[in-house]
């Protein structure tokens, strides 16, 4: 195979270099000024609006009061810095049993167009197999290239992880703010849930998946699935927990690289309410952006609400019970009244 010519800066005169500079700036600005488009799939009530609000600084009304929609709905909103965000609210794949060909084609088209695709599933849901079956049927209609692109850009989220109790959450309070931390038994429960969902909705697409992360310049391991260049480390296939552990055992000096590759295919338990795992979710989203979508994404990053930390005053409102001492006729425990 003929090698592509390598052009160094010395091979370009000042006029050519200036044309390249102007061209790159123009294209970067054009890309950055387009609306960032985000598709969010998921059944009614899984917390799509809450998730979008904390991730993108929007103000969609929350609460399941909207009628369920069958058609994908586009909502364009200006971000705080004035750049447009377009959200496609995609009705749950499992909401409609009878998807006709026209509807499936439209659904596929929207997924293919969007910069970011988030599949939100309720952390306590048990009907994933139905949604997975519908996604499979939907993607059967796509040509192989489109199928690979769509599968490769989906970020899977388990929403409302705050509802996975007991075991309890821990509020790590530091002054006026704090962070929610799952207790060890709760973290274990989440891990089991996430592994189940990953098996249901990620693993079946292993042949179409790839994982990417940046190369800090020291990674140089290659095999039939793993590759690298100056900037990027790539794995072809599903970078599952088992695969990650196997590579880490073989090359412990690159444990951080394998951990970052693993980020691509994790199903993340998140909570918009508790601001839990949101930075990890954003890492997953960034890993899957198309070549120039990062310019649009960067414009909205400044608008992102704080990804971690909750004011103590807000945390007080999250307690969902108080204890009434029925003998004394007084409150024995009320989180909202406790003096911190």
């Amino acid at each position: 195979m003929a090698r592509t010519e390598l052009i160094s800066v010395d091979a370009l005169d000042e006029h050519q270099l200036d044309r390249v500079r102007q061209s790159v700036r123009r294209e970067r600005d054009t890309e950055a000024n387009k609306a960032l488009s985000v598709a969010i799939m998921g059944q009614s009530g899984v917390g799509k609006s809450s998730l979008l609000n904390v991730l993108f600084g929007t103000h969609f009304p929350v609460g399941d009061v909207k009628p369920a929609t069958r058609e994908p709905q586009a909502i364009s909103v200006p971000s705080n810095s004035g750049h447009t965000l377009t959200f496609w609210d995609m009705p749950g794949l499992g909401d409609s049993e009878d998807l006709d060909a026209g509807y499936r084609a439209m659904y596929l088209e929207k997924l293919a167009e969007c910069d970011v695709v988030i599949w939100a599933m309720h952390a306590d849901s048990r009907c994933t197999d139905r949604e997975a079956r519908h996604l499979r049927r939907l993607l059967d209609d796509a040509d192989p290239g489109a199928r690979r692109r769509i599968v490769g850009k989906v970020t899977h989220v388990l929403t409302k992880a705050d509802l996975l109790t007991p075991p309890p959450w821990i509020f790590d309070m530091r002054g006026e703010r704090g962070s929610f931390v799952p207790s060890r038994p709760l973290a274990g429960r989440m891990e089991v849930k996430a592994a189940h969902f990953e098996q249901m909705v990620v693993e079946p697409w292993g042949d179409l998946l790839s994982a990417h992360t940046y190369n800090n310049g020291e990674f140089a391991v290659r095999d039939d699935r793993l590759g690298f260049d100056r900037q990027t480390v790539t794995y072809r296939g599903h970078f599952s927990r088992e695969v990650c552990e196997r590579y880490t055992a073989a090359h412990p000096e690159h444990a951080d690289v394998f951990s970052r590759l693993r980020d691509n295919h994790r199903v993340l338990p998140c909570s918009a309410l508790f601001r839990f795992n949101l930075a990890a979710l954003m890492v997953n989203v960034v890993n899957k952006l198309g070549p120039t979508a990062i310019f649009r994404f960067q414009r909205v990053l400044d608008d992102v609400a704080e990804l971690a930390g909750v004011p103590v005053s807000a945390m007080r409102e999250y307690g969902n019970f108080l204890v009434w001492d029925g003998i004394r006729g007084t409150r024995a425990f009320d989180l909202s009244q406790l003096p911190f």
Binding site: E5, I7, V9, S23, R230, Q298
Partner: protein, 71 residues
Amino acid sequence: MIEDDDDITRAVEARRREDTEYVARLDDAVQHRDETAIEHLVRNAVARVVGRVADVGFDVVRNIWNWLVSH
């Protein structure tokens, strides 16, 4: 159930480390995607300017990157 305060301390410290790690990973991931996107645009622009498809050296990318930062 949570066993004792040591369990809580360990869970909290591990979580703080993980949170810090993911904030750093987000910054690094965004920077990396930005650099690769710029390289993608530079490669296309050089091909247009010189009239043929060619790979570009890192010195070209760095030159354009520095210029973009300063403008």
